[in-house]
């Protein structure tokens, strides 16, 4: 009933899967995933600058999960519950697609949605200016880059963020994000 994680996951595996991970997003998992991407990237024929972009965006996507995921619902049928997240990087035609998925509490939907919609509404030039504004004016935070992550992804890829919220139960949502790099 409702959201089917396996179906969603299989859809994201379309194309050639370069990296996939399901489970606890720890600092070591991030290191290993990045190392795995680098070793595979050396066999891919794309330009170095494209691979560097994919690497940078992958860092932000993984660390976004690391810093912001909520615990999954207690009855979710998954093995590892601490910092649970899903990431799939695949090459689908001329694009690289990085898909991430994680559980969030329902009350967070609006703030996530507003944030992404706002970033998506900006022109390239506006993104640059807002990025500089936040870099210059916001205070240090222990977590991530104080809201720069999403901006950085859109700035580097030049593409809008695509997202979906899937209702899991009365208090949880599965937040799915797709980032395209060409």
């Amino acid at each position: 009933m409702g959201f089917d994680l396996v179906n969603w996951y299989n859809e994201k595996r379309k194309g050639e899967v370069i990296l996939e991970y399901v489970g606890s997003i720890s600092s070591d998992v991030i290191s290993n995933s990045l190392a795995e991407f680098e070793s595979k990237a050396s066999t891919l024929s794309d330009l170095k600058r494209v691979k560097k972009k994919v690497y940078s965006v992958l860092v932000e996507c993984l660390q976004n999960l690391f810093h912001h995921v909520d615990e999954p619902p207690v009855d979710a049928k998954i093995d590892e519950k601490d910092k649970y997240g899903v990431v799939v990087l695949s090459k689908d035609g001329t694009f690289y697609r990085i898909s991430t998925g994680n559980f969030v509490k329902k009350e967070k939907i609006n703030s996530i949605k507003d944030r992404i919609d706002q970033v998506n509404s900006l022109s390239d030039e506006e993104i640059k200016l807002v990025y500089r504004e936040i870099l210059n004016n916001s205070k240090f935070s222990g977590k991530g880059g104080g809201g720069l992550g999403m901006l950085d992804i859109v700035r580097k890829t030049g593409n809008k963020l695509e997202y979906n919220f899937f209702q899991v139960d009365s208090s949880y949502i599965f937040f799915a994000l797709d980032v395209y790099i060409s």
Partner: protein, 126 residues
Amino acid sequence: METIIREETLKTPYVKFDGEKGLVEIKGRSIPENSIEFYKPLIDWLDKFADQPSGKTSVNVKLEYFNTSSSKCILDIFRKLELIHKKGDEVEINWYYEEDDEDMFEAGEDYQSIINIPFKMIEMEE
């Protein structure tokens, strides 16, 4: 002042801060989850160095990647250098980027737009 040398790791850059020579170098990748933990001692070092700089400070930043978590810490380093510059000491900032890496070039421009010291943008050929 004690020289700081940190070898490069998977997620943190090579760092050399040498007070006697007036040399500040950061090279490699800076993508730790907790960047404050890594940069705090470096920023503290610059705080002390700003009290008695060596006349001329050369800064070489040669980053391959950095994450948004590091970006504010790197800005904080530049802010400390800006203080030294404001006191009338010469500070030379060399921002290196790989040929075709427009993202790293633009990152240098971002810092330059905030920090009041001219950056020398240096393209490295592969």
